[in-house]
C-alpha cells in the first residue's frame, strides 16, 4: 500500500544522503592537519615509533584503498576502533549517545510543552496582554545562545541555590530523579531557544487557521470557543509545526554540543570535539555519521507523522 512504498522510498533516500555524508566526512577528516599517530604517542615519541604506528593504523596506504576498506567495514556495521582509546567506536558512541539524546529529548519536550500552549494562547488572544507576554518571551528566548542560558541557569540554580548538581550525568538506570536533576538544566538550555522558535511558528500557524472558513463554519454550528480551537483548529495548526520540529533538530543537536561543554557532560558533542582535537579519525567519522543518522531519520519520522496527521496528503511526500 501507498504508505509502505512511500516510507521505503524515503528510507532509501535517507540512506543515500547518509552515505554521501559519510564519504564527505571520510575525506574531510583526512584533510584535517595533524597526525593521529603523533597525538597518540605523545609529542616526543620517536619518528620510528610514529611511522610504525601510522603503518599499523593503515594511514600509510593510498587514500582510495583506505576508503574502500572503510566502506567495506561500515557495510558490516563496523565503525572501526578509536585511535585514542583502543575501543570500538560503536561502543564509544553508545556510551555517549545516552546523555546527548536524553538532553535533546527532554529539551525538545520542554520546548514543545512551552511552545504549543503559549503559541495557541497568543494566537487566540491576539494583541491582548497574553499575546504580548508570550511573544516577548519567545523573542528573548530566540535571541540567547543556548549555552549561555546554560551558564546563567548553572550560576543560579546549581551554584547559588544548589538545587541541582552542576556537573556530569547519571544514567536513568541509576534512578529517574537523579537523572532528571542532572539533565534538567542542560535540557532547559537547549529547549528554550528551540521553544522560542516553535512558539512563533505555532502562533502564526494558529492565526492562519483561525482565519480559515471552516473555523467560521464551526462557529456557525454553535460550538463553544475552546472546542473549536482544540478540536477544529489544533490539528490543522500542527501540520506545518511538525515538519518544522523535525528541521529544528539540527539547531537543537548543535545546541547540545556547547551545552555539554558547559555542564561537563560526556556526550556525543564532547566526544566529537575531543576526537577532532585528537585527530581520532574513526571516532570523528562515527560521531558524524551517527549525528546525521539521527538527524535524517528523525526528519523521516516527522514526515511520516506529518502524512498521518494530514489526511489530505497522499504519500507522495510533503512536496
Amino acid at each position: 500500500m501507498g504508505m509502505r512504498r512511500y516510507i521505503a522510498k524515503r528510507v532509501a533516500h535517507a540512506l543515500v544522503v547518509i552515505y554521501i555524508v559519510a564519504t564527505i566526512v571520510f575525506f574531510a577528516v583526512r584533510a584535517i592537519p595533524g597526525d593521529p599517530a603523533r597525538v597518540l604517542l605523545g609529542g616526543d615519541a620517536s619518528a620510528e615509533a610514529i611511522a610504525a604506528l601510522r603503518e599499523e593504523m593503515g594511514l600509510t596506504e593510498p587514500l582510495y584503498v583506505q576508503y574502500i576498506r572503510w566502506m567495506g567495514r561500515i557495510l558490516q556495521g563496523d565503525l572501526g576502533t578509536s585511535v585514542f582509546s583502543d575501543q570500538s567506536v560503536l561502543q564509544m558512541l553508545i556510551g555517549v549517545a545516552e546523555p546527548t539524546l536524553s538532553i535533546a529529548g527532554l529539551g525538545m519536550l520542554i520546548a514543545l510543552l512551552i511552545a504549543i500552549p503559549a503559541g495557541i494562547t497568543s494566537a487566540v488572544k491576539q494583541y491582548q496582554w497574553e499575546d504580548y507576554v508570550a511573544t516577548t518571551v519567545s523573542f528573548i528566548g530566540i535571541s540567547m545562545p543556548g549555552f549561555w542560558i546554560g551558564i546563567v541557569l548553572l550560576i543560579i540554580f546549581a551554584d547559588r541555590l544548589g538545587w541541582v548538581p552542576a556537573f556530569g550525568y547519571v544514567s536513568f538506570r541509576q534512578g529517574i530523579i537523579p537523572w532528571l536533576k542532572h539533565i534538567i538544566l542542560p535540557a532547559l538550555a537547549v529547549g528554550l531557544p528551540y521553544g522560542g522558535i516553535l512558539m512563533r511558528m505555532t502562533r502564526s500557524s494558529m492565526m492562519e487557521v483561525l482565519n480559515e472558513d471552516y473555523m467560521r463554519t464551526a462557529r456557525a454550528k454553535g460550538l463553544d470557543g475552546r472546542l473549536i480551537v482544540f478540536k477544529h483548529g489544533l490539528q490543522n495548526a500542527l501540520i506545518p509545526i511538525v515538519t518544522v520540529a523535525g528541521i529544528l533538530l539540527g539547531v537543537l543537536l548543535g545546541g547540545v554540543v556547547a551545552v555539554e561543554i558547559v555542564f561537563g557532560i560526556q556526550g556525543l558533542g564532547r566526544l566529537l570535539i575531543a576526537s577532532i582535537q585528537r585527530r581520532d579519525f574513526p571516532a570523528i567519522q562515527g560521531a558524524v555519521i551517527l549525528i546525521s543518522f539521527v538527524f535524517v531519520f528523525m526528519n523521516l519520522l516527522v514526515d511520516v507523522l506529518y502524512t498521518s496527521i494530514n489526511p489530505q496528503i497522499k504519500y507522495g511526500g510533503s512536496e
Partner: protein, 520 residues
C-alpha cells in the same frame, strides 16, 4: 576506618593505564595507586623501596635489589623477582612504548632467587634508579604476566597490578572505580593493613568550573587538579576545601630557536630530532634574532616571573630561574648564580647591543597549545614592554606537535613534567641531536654546545650523587649562559580535598590514596 570517596580527575577520557604505555600525568596519578614499582618516591620526594626492600650498587653498572616476600598481584599471582624480571623484559621488547629508551642500556636482568633481582647495565646510567620508581619512572612499574599474555589490548584498559587498589570497574568517559586490594602487603606503624579507604571512584570531570562546584558542593571529596583561579579562593583555608599546590616536577619555559634549521650545520642534524629530512625553508633570507645569545638572554630577562605566577597561574607556580625543578630536592637551588632574573633595563641594553633598536625591535610568533594560552597572553605583554612584538599562534595539540618539529616558529611554549632527575629535562631536550641514541631527540630549538654535551655525559655516567652534582652545576651554568630556554615557571598542581579527607600522598604531583583516610 575505611569508607569510600568520590574523586575528580580533570581529564576527558582516561583509557590507557598500562604503565609501559602511559604517557600522560593524569594517567600516572591514577595507576600509581594500582601498581607497585621496584622503588617509589616517599613523601619527601626521596627514592625508597617499594617491591624492593633494599638495593645496592656493587659497581657503577649493576643494581641488586632485595625483593619483599609475600607480595601478590590483584589476580593472586605471586610477585617475586622473576615476575619483576619478566615485567622489565617485556618493556625492553616494546618498540612502540614511549619508555623503551629508559631500558635501552640494560644488558641483562637476572633473578637468581625469589628475593634477588639483578640488573646489569651496559654503561653507567646515573638517573637509572629514578626510571624504576612506581609513578613517574614507569620502567620499574611491575605489570602482571598472566594478564598481559591473556590479552595485551585489554590489559591497556584493565591493568592488573599489585598496588594498594585494584581497578574493578570503568565506564568510558565517565568514571573508574578503584577498590582496596585486601592482600596488599604494606601495613601502617600500628600494623593496620593498608589502604584504609575501601573504594575510590574516579570521576572524569574535564570541565574546570564543574570540578570546582563539584568539590564545593561535596559532589566529590578529592580533586586531582583544581582550576587555579578557584583554588586561589580557598588559599589560607577556612572553607570546607583544603588546597595544596604541589610540584609534579613540572617546568615550563619559552624555548627559543637557536639555529636556522636550513643552515649547513643543521640541515642534516635537525632530521635526527624531527624525522623530517627536508628542513623548512621558512627562514630563507630572513634573520633569526634568537640565534643571537644576547637576544635570548634579553628575552629571559624580559620575563617578569612574579607577575606571570600571580596573573597566569593565580599563584600556583614557583618562578623558575633555572631548569632544575624543586622536585629534584638534591639539586634544586632557587637562585643559582647567573640565574635568569627579571631585568627589563638590562634586556633593552642587550637588545641594543645585538643591534635590534627598531620599533618594534623585532617580531616573532610564539607557538603554544590552548593550555598555554594564559601564559602566552601575559608573555606577549611582557615582551612588548622591551620592544619585542610577539604574535600568538595557538594550535590544537596535534598540529602543535607537527609545527614544533618544523622549526618554523621563533618562540615555543615548552615544558616537561615528572622530571625527577635533571637528566630528564636536559638530555633529549638540549643535547646536540645524534643520529643514534636519544641525545637531543626532542630538540625543539636546535641548541648545541659541546661543553654542555660534555657536562651532561659526565653527569649521566656518574651514579654517585656527590660527584655528580658538580657536573650538574657545570651544565646548569652553561645553560644559563646560552639561555636556549627562557625559563618561566615551575607550575604547581592545585590538589583539592574536603577537610575530612586526610593524608593523601601528593609527592611529585601524585595522588596516592594508600594511606589516605576520612576523619569521622
Amino acid at each position: 576506618m575505611g569508607g569510600s570517596i568520590e574523586a575528580g580527575w580533570a581529564f576527558n577520557a582516561v583509557e590507557v593505564l598500562d604503565p609501559h604505555y602511559v604517557d600522560l600525568y593524569q594517567q600516572i596519578t591514577i595507576f600509581s595507586n594500582i601498581f607497585s614499582g621496584i622503588v617509589k618516591l616517599d613523601r619527601n620526594g626521596e627514592i625508597v623501596g617499594d617491591a624492593a626492600s633494599d638495593w645496592t650498587l656493587p659497581d657503577n653498572t649493576t643494581y641488586e635489589f632485595t625483593i619483599r616476600e609475600g607480595m601478590t598481584f590483584h589476580n593472586g599471582d605471586t610477585l617475586d623477582a622473576s615476575a619483576i624480571k619478566w615485567s622489565i623484559e617485556r618493556l625492553m621488547g616494546l618498540d612502540d612504548s614511549p619508555h623503551i629508551g629508559k631500558v635501552a642500556d640494560i644488558e641483562s636482568v637476572e633473578a637468581p632467587d625469589a628475593t634477588t633481582l639483578r640488573i646489569n647495565l651496559s654503561r653507567p646510567v646515573a638517573p637509572f634508579i629514578t626510571f624504576l620508581t612506581r609513578g613517574p619512572g614507569r620502567a620499574g612499574t611491575i605489570v602482571n604476566k598472566t594478564a598481559v599474555e591473556e590479552d595485551p589490548q585489554r590489559y591497556r584498559r584493565y591493568p592488573v597490578g599489585s598496588g594498594p587498589f585494584e581497578l574493578t570497574e570503568r565506564s568510558t568517559g565517565e568514571s573508574l572505580t578503584l577498590t582496596a586490594f585486601d592482600d596488599y602487603w604494606e601495613t601502617d606503624s600500628e600494623g593496620n593493613s593498608l589502604p584504609y579507604l575501601d573504594e575510590v571512584v574516579i570521576n572524569l570531570i574535564p570541565e574546570p568550573s564543574t570540578m570546582w562546584s563539584a568539590i564545593t558542593t561535596d559532589g566529590i571529596q578529592y580533586a586531582d587538579e583544581l582550576p587555579p583561579q578557584n583554588a586561589r579562593q580557598v588559599q589560607g583555608g577556612g572553607g570546607s576545601v583544603d588546597v595544596a599546590g604541589v610540584s609534579s616536577g613540572e617546568w615550563s619555559c619559552l624555548a627559543m630557536l637557536c639555529n636556522d634549521p636550513a643552515s649547513d650545520e643543521w640541515a642534516e642534524r635537525q632530521s635526527y630530532a624531527s624525522g623530517n629530512d627536508q628542513p623548512t625553508d621558512a627562514w630563507e633570507g630572513t634573520d633569526i634574532p634568537t640565534t643571537d645569545r644576547r637576544v635570548r638572554q634579553a628575552v629571559a630577562m624580559a620575563i617578569d616571573r612574579e607577575e606571570l605566577v600571580s596573573t597566569a597561574y593565580f599563584g600556583f607556580a614557583e618562578p623558575a630561574h633555572s631548569l632544575i625543578n624543586p622536585a629534584i630536592a638534591w639539586a634544586y637551588q632557587e637562585q643559582p648564580e647567573n640565574a635568569q632574573m627579571y631585568n627589563p633595563e638590562r634586556a633593552r641594553e642587550l637588545l641594543d647591543e645585538a643591534g635590534y633598536t627598531g620599533e618594534p625591535r623585532f617580531s616573532g610568533s610564539i607557538l603554544g597549545t590552548p593550555t598555554d594560552e594564559r601564559v602566552m597572553t601575559v608573555l606577549q605583554q611582557q615582551l612588548s614592554n622591551v620592544g619585542i612584538d610577539a604574535t600568538l599562534d595557538v594550535q590544537q595539540e596535534s598540529s602543535y606537535w607537527d609545527n614544533i618539529y618544523r622549526y618554523n616558529h621563533m618562540f615555543m611554549m615548552y615544558g616537561g613534567g615528572g622530571d625527577i632527575d635533571p637528566w630528564m629535562s636536559w638530555w633529549k631536550q638540549l643535547r646536540t641531536p645524534m643520529e643514534e641514541g636519544s641525545s637531543g631527540a626532542w630538540q625543539k630549538n636546535l641548541y648545541s654546545n659541546e661543553n654542555f654535551d660534555e657536562a651532561l655525559s659526565k653527569s649521566f655516567n656518574t651514579p654517585n650523587q656527590d660527584e655528580r652534582i658538580e657536573y650538574v652545576r657545570e651544565a646548569e651554568q652553561i645553560f644559563l649562559e646560552d639561555a636556549p630556554f627562557a625559563m618561566t615557571t615551575f607550575p604547581l598542581t592545585p590538589k583539592g580535598s574536603v577537610t575530612q579527607l586526610k593524608n593523601v600522598g601528593n609527592q611529585i604531583g601524585l595522588s596516592n590514596f594508600h594511606r589516605a583516610y576520612l576523619e569521622e
